[in-house]
Amino acid sequence: MPNSCAVSTVRVRPFQESPERRSGAELMAANPYRPWPARITSITDLTEHEKLFEFRLVDDRIREAFHHAPGQFVELSIFGVGEAPISISSSPTKHGFIELCIRRAGKFTEALHKMQCGDIVGIRGPFGRGFPIDDMRGHDVLLVAGGLGIAPLRSLINNVHDERSDFGKVTIVYGSRTPSDVMFRNQFEMWKHRKDFELHLTVDYPDSTWDGEVGVVTKPFEHLEVDPGNTFGAVCGPPVMYRFVIEEMSKKGIAYDHIYCSFERHMKCGMGKCGHCQIGHQYVCIDGPVFNYWEAKNIQGSM
């Protein structure tokens, strides 16, 4: 009996759009692997290794459906090079544009750093669980970033800034290696004189231009005043930093489940399938990347 010749194959066109105009959310859900074209609308050099890119999704349906929370990330795509998970650095209060702050670290990020305004990339997302911004409203917030950790935390910082009256006391601690590594320095210089932000910029190795604090990111904790029962902590930075900052926050009396940190792991799919981002039983891409310290302690191998 002839077998395969009698069998007619089913043809699936993963990107074919049905004739009726579907909503952005439906289009994105139909194939979550599909990157949507986004145009680079601005590029700002931040440091020698980091640039801030601003993107605008080309399809207006997708642009309208794209809503993120601070701490979520996107998968950024350059066809022929690959994809990389990148935290959204802009605040949800900034509509229509997505800012990503990207360090040159290898093949993909190199290729991106060579691109120019007007070039097209692909974006899918947003993915993951971000900071619990709505729980934070009405409370004091203590936001601590080290190095590139400012990229995801900036989304939260700017969100708090734009909706300042929703929050109690706002304290920002941002540590860098040297003054030339400090990102968004202009923005923070301006905030220095504001009464509604307590800002601590610190560097490990100062130079003659530096008039901020000197020392590791935990140094400012020596003189921080914290109302422990009323404060949410948020930490982003290199893995080694977490333990020390969390210890300082605990010493100030902030409860484990009020201290939030963002984890970085190898990621491919961003949506709980490829397995790369797993720690213990959690998938950092969907269960995180933001976890509170209580949750993190309950994951084998998280820290």
Partner: protein, 345 residues
């Protein structure tokens, strides 16, 4: 569920009927082992096989699969049509059906449903077949020795005939057209009971029966046992390739020779591969084989259970045979048994 009885002699006609409209994949003999393969005649099918070397997962998650095609110049998608062949997996054991049900949890029912997997799953009919355990089978420990759903037909051997559970309309029609399914007699129902009892009694008694595995995994997370077990790992990833429930993948872009067009594909990947958890800056979250092996066992015997209420191992025993370093869940069970014995002394 609907039950009918057919004679063993009707099986070739049933397979032929499926072949008229589907590509039929079934266990066939290759040298001295069995493998799932496309058949061209019902004669090739061996229904009383032990365990196939690899599971049928490749028909749902191919080892390499194009997700999209692109034109790198201008960074745009190009039109791409995935060809999906309507198939019948004829003769899947209960463990493999239960494994598919677990893949469903991740690829079909979880948020971000996977359109490629779903298209294949929907185009595939599953015909299960009852089996007797080999000495490396421990499906009964994870209640995977019986398939409760996830198939279209399930054939339970009751000696010269089959009790057929029918769970889809398509399969029922084909069964009706090819065979003479009839009501089961009382004697046949009783024979089904006997067959089940015989299977349950036939598991290798040397595989320790331990219920509280997930808890023990947590309790002994830092035991030197993991270095002992995982230290031997060759990072060959054979375990994940043969495993019906391992579903991790990598995504990569492959350019055509012209340098501008290409395809984005996903390829099987494995958490026992050295670079699996490597991030930018060179930090590797699981840099040694021991932590990778421990991670794999945790996901199988603890982690998936915590989130999805079932083990991610169906006890098919394939990795027991595939691993040259004797790393497998049975060794973990034996370790817990030794621990129990030591404590009791």
């Amino acid at each position: 569920m609907l039950y009918r009885v057919i004679e063993a002699s009707e099986i070739p006609a049933l397979i032929s009927a499926f072949m008229e409209s589907h590509e039929v994949v079934a266990p066939v003999k290759k040298g001295d082992v069995y493998a799932f393969d496309v058949i061209s005649s019902p004669d090739e099918v061996v229904l009383d096989y032990d365990t196939t070397i690899a599971s049928p997962k490749k028909y749902f998650l191919p080892p390499a699969e194009t997700l999209m095609t692109f034109d790198a110049q201008g960074n745009q998608l190009t039109d791409y049509t995935a060809e999906i062949t309507p198939r019948v997996i004829f003769g899947a054991h209960a463990c493999d059906i239960n494994a598919l049900n677990r893949l469903d949890v991740v690829y079909k029912d979880a948020p971000y449903a996977d359109p490629y997997y779903i298209a294949r799953r929907q185009a595939t009919l599953i015909v299960g077949i009852s089996c007797m355990p080999t000495e490396t089978c421990f499906c009964h420990l994870w209640s995977s020795d019986e398939a409760r759903f996830g198939y279209d037909l399930f054939l339970q051997d009751i000696g010269g005939k089959y009790l057929v559970s029918i769970s889809s309309n398509d399969a029922a029609n084909i069964l009706e057209s090819a065979c003479n399914p009839r009501e089961a007699t009382d004697a046949e129902r009783i024979e089904f009971r006997h067959a089940t009892r015989r299977r349950q009694a036939a598991f290798n008694p040397e595989i320790p029966k331990i219920q509280e595995v997930a808890m023990l995994m947590d309790a002994f997370h830092d035991d030197p046992f993991w270095d002992e077990l995982g230290g031997k790992c060759l990072s060959c990833t054979a375990c994940s390739s043969v495993c019906p429930t391992c579903f991790c993948f990598d995504i990569r872009d492959v350019r055509d020779p012209d340098g501008t067009t290409g395809r984005r594909e996903r390829v099987w990947d494995a958490c026992t591969a050295p670079q699996f958890a490597l991030v930018a800056g060179g930090h590797n979250f699981r840099s040694d084989p021991a932590t990778r092996v421990r991670h794999r066992m945790y996901h199988k015997l603890n982690g998936f259970l915590a989130t999805h209420d079932r083990m991610l191992c169906v006890g098919c025993g394939r990795c027991v045979k595939a691993c040259k370093a004797n790393i497998n869940p049975i060794e973990v069970l034996k370790f817990f048994e030794r621990k129990g014995a030591a404590d009791a002394e």
